[in-house]
């Protein structure tokens, strides 16, 4: 009952499971993973399509297949305990090495569990109709793509038969194909931006294969139907994404699926007092994924929304490793704290700072998102003294995270805050 865990991991998706594995491999003896659903795996369990794992596992897997791999790697580890059907209500920071996690489950009731460190891997949630203010009626038949995906792929029901999808991010595209395979008619995919936010591969294989039209620079300006969706009104938008009067047309449909963005799920982090970055909407972290609170780590979509689960696993392994080092009392004290700033052309960059120790010998991977799509650019990383490194990139897109490693040899020479920027071809 009074067991003290080295690490308590909040969330048993790919992030939580990967963190647990890495923590165990790096010396943590008592690791607890708390998962609110009936099984681990998180949202991957409903992502039945493939395309996962090429980077991390070097093989192409489906979502459930990826979750299975993550679970298989920890399920027999003595160090790792998993508690499903358990919801964390609160995390308290008692001291640098004492965190109290309050959680509830039908089986164990309300528990207060002590950990030396905590890793936040709660993932993200979907932006809703209300957040983007789609006008019109409020009938049944408007769902976030993820909610519909769960009903179709795990519960076995269809959200409707004539479908319009708002948002051409990968989730929207994947759902367009999924609904087509289920025998539904996908009338259109609408995208408010002048470019798709999904992978070209998904445009080809999810839309073109099924003759589904993609309307760029279009959005929904009205939903019709009092009880159930009967149709929508669509409008062209201008450069500032405002509807253009006179361009409206109607599409008859019984369902609207929304794929309009994801938001890191940081209710617990905020209550705990972790500093949240205004752009990523996730905790500010250092290169070890330690947050502004000592002993509280964060990784995956809770930090910043990823497009590849492989990078979630990579990031979670970093968090798991350094949480283990901290929990076992082996953390080195930082001597220099360097900010990583997003400069020209860069929207977000994680980690937001790098804490260097004397004799630093680790490379640092930066994850960035570009502000707009561009070809043939150069990524520059500069500190106060000048260029730390640069890297040419054939293409950058806001939808695809850029990952760049600063080699250890260069990391240890950094003396002041660095800025990452993109410069176009000369």
């Amino acid at each position: 009952m009074n067991k003290i865990y080295d690490i308590i991991i909040i969330g048993g998706g790919p992030g939580g499971l990967s963190a647990a594995k890495s923590a165990a491999e790096n010396g943590a003896k008592h690791i607890l993973v708390l998962e609110r659903d009936r099984e681990v795996g998180g949202i991957l369990q409903q992502c039945v399509h493939n395309g996962f794992g090429l980077h991390h596992f070097k093989e192409e897997l489906t979502g459930p297949g990826y979750a299975q791999k993550c679970y298989d790697l920890v399920k027999d580890m003595d160090e790792v305990e998993i508690s499903v059907d358990t919801m964390v209500l609160n995390i308290e920071n008692k001291s640098d090495d004492k965190k109290i996690v309050t959680c509830v489950s039908p089986r164990n009731g309300l528990q207060k569990i002590e950990g030396r460190t905590v890793i936040l891997t709660m993932g993200c949630r979907e932006r809703t109709r209300g957040a983007i203010r789609i006008p019109g009626y409020r009938p049944a038949g408007v769902y976030t793509a993820g909610a519909a995906q769960r009903m179709v792929n795990m519960e076995g029901y269809l959200p409707g038969h004539k479908i319009v999808i708002l948002g051409s991010g990968d989730i929207g595209l994947i759902m367009a194909r999924r609904m087509s395979l289920e025998g539904c008619k996908v009338e259109a995919v609408l995208e408010i931006c002048p470019f798709s936010n999904g992978l070209t591969r998904n445009i080809v294989q999810c839309l073109n294969d099924y003759d589904i039209p993609l309307y760029l620079s279009h959005t929904i300006v009205g939903i019709k139907g009092r009880d159930r969706v009967e149709g929508i009104t669509v409008s062209n938008v201008d450069d500032s994404m405002r509807p253009i009067a006179g361009t409206e047309f109607d599409i008859e449909c019984d369902t609207v699926l929304l794929s309009v963005g994801l938001i890191p799920e940081n209710e617990l982090s905020r209550e705990l007092g972790v500093a949240i970055h205004p752009r990523t909407n996730g905790p500010v972290v250092d290169q070890h994924r330690e947050t502004s609170i000592d002993g509280v780590f964060a990784a995956g979509n809770v930090v910043h929304v990823h497009d590849l689960v492989d990078f979630v696993s990579d990031e979670a392994e970093i968090a798991g490793k350094f949480a283990a080092i901290k929990a076992t009392g082996n953390a080195k004290k930082a001597t220099l704290d360097i900010n990583v700033n997003a400069g020209d052309g860069i929207n977000t960059c994680v980690p937001q700072h790098i804490r260097l120790t004397s004799g630093e010998d680790e490379s640092v991977r930066l994850f960035m998102r570009a502000k707009s799509p561009q070809r043939k650019v150069t990524l520059h990383i500069k500190d106060g003294d000048g260029e730390v490194m640069k890297k040419p990139l054939a293409i950058v897109k806001p939808s695809e995270m850029i990952a760049v490693d600063i080699p250890a040899a260069k990391v240890k020479n950094i003396k002041s805050d660095i800025t990452v920027s993109i410069e176009g071809a000369k």
Binding site: R38, E39, Q45, V48, H49, N50, E60, L61, T62, G63, P64, G65, A67, Q68, N153, M154, E155, G156, S180, L181, E182, G183, L199, T200, R201, I203, V204, Q205, D209, R375, A394, I395, K397, E400
Partner: protein, 124 residues
């Protein structure tokens, strides 16, 4: 049908997404332009002559905590047969327990490809 056809397609081999212009004569790709690397040329040829796709879907399952089992084709299937294969999976009902990789629908539609479970599912 014209003997010489020009087809435009987006390469999906990498994030570059090159726009490819392919010329076809008598169903054979004779030239590919717009690609930045050799993979683009191969993609255009395959895609225009014999497009193949993976199939992922679900089948019903009995005796498990969930109602559906996610499945995946062991290898790619002809693109034109994908919807028919998805239709065929509606006829199938698996029975728990199932292990990842278990064959759920052998040799689907006689195409020589097995449909397998993409995860474990315990019996309850």
């Amino acid at each position: 049908m014209d003997k010489v056809q020009t087809k435009i397609l987006n390469c999906i081999m990498c994030p570059m997404g090159c726009e490819l212009t392919a010329t076809m004569e008598d169903g054979v790709v004779t030239s590919v332009k717009g690609n930045s690397c050799p993979r683009g040329e191969k993609y255009a040829k395959d895609e225009l002559t014999n497009p193949m796709r993976m199939l992922t879907s679900t089948v019903r399952i009995e005796g498990a905590a969930l109602h559906l089992l996610p499945v995946v084709s062991k290898s790619t299937l002809p693109k034109g047969k994908i919807l028919e294969c998805a239709e065929a999976l509606r006829e199938i009902k698996a029975k728990a327990p199932v292990k990842v990789g278990d064959v759920i629908a052998p040799n689907i539609l006689g195409l020589g490809v097995d449909i397998v479970a993409s995860r474990d599912m315990a019996a309850v």
